[in-house]
Symmetry: C2
Subunit: 312 residues, 2 copies
Amino acid sequence: MDEFSLIQRYFSRHARAGHEGVVLGVGDDAAVLRPSPGHDLVMATDTLVSGRHFPADMTAFDIGWRSLAVNLSDLAAMGARPLWCLLSLTLPEADERWLAGFADGFYALADETGVALVGGDTVRGSLSVTIQVVGQVPANKALRRSGACPGDRICMGGTPGEAALGLRQWQQGVHQGDAVERLCRPLPQLVLGEKLRSVASACIDVSDGVLADLGHLLDASGGLGADLRVDGFPDTPLFAGLSRQERLALQCHGGDDYLLLFTLPPVFNRPQGCLELGRVAAQPGIRLHDGNGELLSLPGSGWNHFSSQGDG
Amino acid sequence: MDEFSLIQRYFSRHARAGHEGVVLGVGDDAAVLRPSPGHDLVMATDTLVSGRHFPADMTAFDIGWRSLAVNLSDLAAMGARPLWCLLSLTLPEADERWLAGFADGFYALADETGVALVGGDTVRGSLSVTIQVVGQVPANKALRRSGACPGDRICMGGTPGEAALGLRQWQQGVHQGDAVERLCRPLPQLVLGEKLRSVASACIDVSDGVLADLGHLLDASGGLGADLRVDGFPDTPLFAGLSRQERLALQCHGGDDYLLLFTLPPVFNRPQGCLELGRVAAQPGIRLHDGNGELLSLPGSGWNHFSSQGDG
């Protein structure tokens, strides 16, 4: 089977119209799509390069899942419901087994989240995956990074740092377990994102780490600051064996969680399953306090990810 | 200036709302876009890998122009008017001069065609450019590859083979002139595409070569064939010095022209500036005839581009 047929075989599952809004799917010069009246479109793209955004020895299934997940997470952060995606795959060779595994992982998450693959491109080169996702929100209802106000609660859709722990384990040769699962198969918080549309004042998904992404949100909200409480970062069983300082470093700086980080006006309670990390402050800078309100030094230090343009 | 600031500096020109349908541009987790009522969206993506889809020594300006052009050409082939795009740039290093040149070429064509860059992603890796374009057509008016009928004229938006000639010259060390310009700065035929919406029965853009792309169109139209006339492939001054056979090989098999290839029911005349290559036939296969109707052998042979998924 030649390469052209392989691609056709593995990436045409959503080819036919029938998915919501798909007038014409894979197979022409472009896809033709019909948006719902009264809705805004939300579009994002992320590229994942082998060895940089995922371990080179990650399974094809997990690469397929994860590549789609990190893109859907951007839609979740906007409160959007996913509709369609395009896949640009750069492959060193057409390896049928690899393609089959990648497609299985990709479609497993696509089917779970209702997003249809409507087009793409496959080229020869070093392994890299670029996905573009399109979702929709009722007009003017997209969540943004801007909009946080002093006094807002700072909340998160789960425990940060577990994916970073998974990466550490992976690098130590441990390729299974709950933490590794967090790294390999992040679950974009689409349901939470839709719920937050009516309550959150600002939202971002955590890809670069809590402090870095909270910094982006506070900057976008007009240069605000934050007071975080150390007990906002829970010591879950996954972190057993780590010192508090090691755990906090992972939880403050570790990326790859793809959990939503959002701010809530004081009038709203935090949604079930979410953590409260602290409060937005008028004074710039991010500070960490212990249970008595005493200032703790922030673990480690932030850094600029080259991979972050801040809008993907 | 760090890498993050460089990217912000060079790719935020369309960041603010103000372009048609842009509610929120570069700078959040995703862009927010408002489609026009009564229109279908048309979406495509193409990846260009250095040394594979453009010469590694092409100027940054031309890489920027060309990467956008080949994507817009997919919209032209659907009869769509471009609205928005996302840019995923994989770079070996953050070279300010290169980025400035790339951005100049990219925005030169973006401004000429009215498409707004609303988001993207930049990562470290070997040089590769992925662009996603979104355009719109009045509902149900997109041109497709299917729809050709026996007896339809086969037309083309200009002379094929000139970009392939440019590539040959480039590889011989000639880096300027009209043919090289065709290769480096293809002009997507967006105006022609919109005109064809009301007349063409099928349309595709020529990226893989006339015979290969005509084959895709005929296959999509139900396994039809074509009778081409050799005088449909004109001997323009650019081809001076080539034998007829060399020229025809470039014109039949050379890719990269990004001209529209389309079929017209006999009742319509071919649009100004377009060539007529021949007629669609019920009998499968593509045949080439001389002025007396005698069969000529087709020059060279076709091949499968790995880069073509057939839908990008």
